[in-house]
Amino acid sequence: MKSVTQIVASLSHVPGVVAAMIVGASDGLIVETSAMLNAEAGDTRKHTAALAAYLYSKVTRASDAARLGTPAFMRLEAEQGHICVVGARDVVLVTIVTPNANLGRVRLDMMTAAKGEA
């Protein structure tokens, strides 16, 4: 099993990933994070981590309510890029991704990492 540091390092090297983080699912606190690329506008990792974990918990409830089971992958598309989240038991993997990133590769690597983490 890879360590959390290895998982974050591996995800942060995927082209288009601006930052990769492992975040506590219930408390929204960062367990491990990569450096944030292009952080001229300020480092928002702490905010993103807490709110992404919170959002993922709500999405999980919505998915349960719709009887769809646990969400496998969550992607939030915004004007300047994407936030991707995958749950892995007590933690969630969160990446901040540029608009032109290879989302298929990001998704695959996050899902594989989450399987290793779970």
């Binding site: 975040v23 506590g24 219930s26 408390d27 929204g28 606190l29 702490k46 905010h47 981590a49 807490a50 709110l51 974990a53 919170y54 918990s57």
Partner: protein, 160 residues
Amino acid sequence: MSNPTVAEAWVAAPLTKLMEDARLISGVLLYPTGRAVGQFGFSNAADVMSICALTSAINASARELGRQLDGKPFYELHHAGAERQVFMARASAAGQEFLFVGVFDSESSLGVVEIYFGEFQKALEKLRPERQASVPIPAGDFEGELNRSLDALFGPIGKR
């Protein structure tokens, strides 16, 4: 969710925003002396009185513990219960220190509360009015200060 009741009007807006954004069940903003500045989620003055007294004492103990262990006072304190969690932290505005204690459950998270508390602190710093000349209060009048602030929040005893 009821709106905050406040003893100082300028804290109403930031306290309401904190309550809503962080999805807090209840909370009290107070001076380190135990005097309440605003509260939400409580309908009973006795509860607020207990919380102010306990928070003031916990802050004093935690501050000293931080000094002993880490060389500086602890900044915040978090206690996770089975269903509800308590978040306690210091904020300052124009040199005046405040304490905040808030309660949340699984509808929120510590990370979310920390983020919005950070914004709350900035709002306090921005909105804090110039200090007005206040009526001198005898030093150590903890009970008197507490009662005056509770009167401001819930009305005088007998009219509550």
